[in-house]
């Protein structure tokens, strides 16, 4: 992380670059921290502050980590009704904060939460939203009438991956986008960074809620108890209709597949041919000490669980070795693996696009090639 820019000490204000932060077991989710890293870069490029919005119960506890990962301002909205994600109250809080502080950019993880929340907020604010971006940059844009400076370029594959589109939102603010986990790099936390925590009062219409303790900006260190509770007029009010959907049950298991942390990924695609055929992919992964990945087509065919999906709408990986077996390599798939240190492609079609990103290519049938690889590796391993 670079040294704090001079404006770091300025008060939170308009034109910040925001990230909506999801909490996962009390700590900020990786995807949110990854986005914060990019938000930091975008804010530096724009000469403004990076902001993190965190909602829930115990949200304030995440503030220090968010500042270490690049936030200048952390907006904390705590209320019992925000304990678990629900569309209504979350959308109310986020759009309320946007109206109050007017950030120029708001980024969301393309999770089931972000993809539920962001469109609702975009619609309420009547602004644009681009889903599943694979890159975000700052640049200019001109039409016949107007020249726009420093817009957010929202870059994503579209139309089944046959094109890469750059989307802009010239006239409406904030500019909003969702990004999948793993697309941006996780920033190195810098515990010496400083930032401000802004506690936001949230109240239910009946006024029964446990709002934030302090409406004013304070240091990230243990917040000073403030005698002056922020006036009710400036609290964000949750209306009865925001709360009418009840969460009856939530069941979440720890991720069974750790693709992001894998040093070796062995991924199978259409060329594998069947659910049974995937056993071969699993054998190679096991032999090499790798994790099983898959193309979307293989997942859609039901051969392997969705947790294994690599690509724009799956997981993005950067392992030391990525083996693509029977994967043609659509742009969406390549977006999820083309930064791997080494890519080995095995495909019967010598013209398969996957060879364009591969370091090693084998034109051949994976059903013959993989057993040879396992045999060769075992011999070497024994020797």
């Amino acid at each position: 992380m670079s040294a704090p820019a001079p404006h770091d000490r300025d008060a939170p204000g308009p034109n910040e670059v925001w990230v909506f932060v999801e909490l996962d077991g009390g700590r900020a989710a990786d995807v949110s921290l990854e986005l914060l890293g990019r938000a930091r870069e975008l804010a530096d490029r724009l000469g403004t502050r990076a902001g993190a919005v965190v909602t829930g119960t115990g949200a304030a506890d995440a503030a220090a980590a968010l500042i270490a990962c690049g936030a200048d301002t952390v907006y904390v909205a705590e209320h019992d009704e925000l304990a678990a994600y629900r569309t209504g109250p979350y959308a109310r809080v986020v759009s309320g904060l946007v109206r109050r502080y007017r950030p120029q950019i708001v980024l969301y993880g393309a999770t089931t939460t972000g993809r539920d929340l962001a469109p609702r907020v975009a619609s309420e604010l009547r602004t644009g939203l681009t889903a599943d971006c694979t890159d975000l940059r700052i640049g200019d844009h001109s039409t016949r009438e107007t020249a726009y400076r420093d817009l957010l370029y929202q870059i994503r594959p579209a139309f089944g991956g046959n094109i890469i589109a750059t989307i802009v939102c010239p006239e409406h603010r904030p500019q909003m986008a969702t990004v999948r986990e793993g697309v941006m790099r996780l920033p190195e936390p810098d515990d010496t960074r400083s930032g401000q925590v802004v506690s936001i009062d949230v109240e239910t219409e009946a006024g029964s809620g446990e709002g934030g303790k302090d409406g004013r900006a304070s240091d990230p260190a243990p917040a000073e108890p403030s005698a002056a509770r922020e006036a009710t007029a400036t609290a964000i009010l949750l209306r009865p209709e925001d709360l009418e959907v009840a969460l009856l049950d939530r069941h979440k298991e720890e991720k069974k597949v750790d693709l992001k942390g894998a040093r070796i990924v062995v991924a199978g695609g259409v060329g594998v041919g069947s659910r049974e055929g995937f056993a071969l992919i699993e054998q190679l992964a096991e032999a090499l000490g790798g994790v099983v990945g898959a193309s979307r087509a293989a997942v859609d065919a039901g051969w392997v669980d969705r947790d294994h999906q690599i690509g724009q709408t799956g997981t993005t990986v950067r392992p030391k070795l990525y083996i693509a077996a029977g994967i043609s390599g659509s742009v969406q798939h390549r977006a999820g693996m083309d930064e791997s240190a080494r890519i080995l492609a095995i495909n019967t079609d010598p013209l398969a696009p996957v060879f364009s990103v591969a370091h090693y290519g084998v034109v051949g049938d994976l059903h013959e090639v993989i057993p040879r690889m396992i045999a060769a590796y075992k011999v070497k391993g024994a020797g």
Partner: protein, 328 residues
């Protein structure tokens, strides 16, 4: 007709569907030489998850009674997905088509769809697919819900229970205006990362349905015969009085050129005026986002080191990867 309109329709379900290019089955060159998308190479299909949404609607209708109204926005050719909906058992179909809708991003699309749902009057459930395969944005469902001021449950893999509303009087004077003894509710399970959550929303509500929810039924041969001539041509007729099940017009038949009744359903055609959209909120003008640039995907020349698929080639490759400390 099996599903005659009842005076106390238990559920009125609007299903929002989209005709999409079949991006998974490109039959020719996807891009023209000038870099634009070659739509001719992409056959148009019923967006897969919208079929799942229709299937959920059909199951609910079969269980509770009621009516299904399918809405699509698109060019006149999009009438094909409405026909497909009739073949599977939808009662009513609406095509939103107007030059003023063209070039819409998800916000402008949702606005037009929400205006159309409002025009339908009392609807208990709005269902649509989670996302369309041409953009995979999953934004239109939640944005339509927000425009309608209705609760949403997205990414639904199972509808657990629907308690139909009890209306004090059968009315269709506008969304949410009916007098209810109780509003009814929907309980649904949505897929989240590594698990699921179950939510209950009061009706009316908007649900987006995933492919996990069901296996859509095929078209019924009988219904295909009944409806195959539907809307062979579209005509600007905004008389939708038959949408009110109380109306005599509900029994009106589509008359063919020779004056013979063809079937009882027809395609209702609505333009921007018919659904009362505000100037500037539809189509490209109503869309905050702009496509700045489209790059056709050009592949780099392969510079992969090619390895023979023989024992010798593979063994040499494995040794090389071990020597590079790529394999341990």
């Amino acid at each position: 007709m099996k599903h005659a309109p009842s005076t106390h329709a238990q559920l009125r379900i609007a299903v929002l569907v989209k005709q999409v290019p079949d991006t998974a089955n490109v039959t020719g060159k996807a891009m023209k030489d000038d870099g634009t998308v070659n739509r001719a190479a992409l056959p148009a299909i019923f967006n897969p998850e919208d079929l799942n949404a229709l299937e959920e609607a059909l199951r609910l209708r079969d269980r509770h009674g009621g009516r299904i109204i399918v809405i699509t926005m698109g060019p006149p050719a999009a009438v094909q997905v409405l026909r497909e909906s009739l073949y599977r058992g939808a009662e009513e179909v609406v095509l939103l088509t107007d030059r003023r809708f063209a070039g819409a991003d998800t916000l402008a699309t949702s606005y037009a769809l929400a205006c159309a749902v409002r025009r339908l009057g009392d609807v208990d459930l709005v269902l649509c697919g989670r996302q369309a395969i041409d953009g995979d944005t999953a934004q239109v469902g939640p944005q339509t819900a927000e425009k309608l001021g209705l609760p949403q449950i997205t990414c639904v893999s199972r509808i657990d229970e629907v308690v139909p509303p009890r209306r004090l009087a059968a009315t269709s004077s506008g969304l949410g205006t009916a007098a209810y003894e109780h509003r009814g509710s929907v309980t649904a399970t949505r897929s989240i990362e590594g698990g699921y959550e179950t939510l209950r929303a009061p009706l009316p509500a908007v649900l987006t349905i995933t492919g996990e929810a069901n296996d859509p039924r095929p078209p019924s041969a009988k219904l295909v015969l009944t409806y195959k001539d539907v809307a062979a041509e579209a005509w600007p007729d905004y008389d939708d009085s038959y949408l009110d099940p109380q109306s005599d017009a509900a029994e009106v038949c589509l008359i063919d050129h020779d004056g013979r009744p063809v079937c009882r359903a027809r395609v209702v055609l609505w333009d921007a005026a018919a659904i009362g959209t505000e100037e500037g909120l539809t189509g490209l003008r109503g869309s905050p986002t702009r496509v700045k640039e489209i790059e056709s995907v050009v592949l780099a020349q392969p510079d992969a080191r090619m390895v023979e698929p023989t024992d010798e080639g593979i063994t040499e490759l494995v040794h090389k990867l071990i020597a590079e400390h790529i394999l341990g």
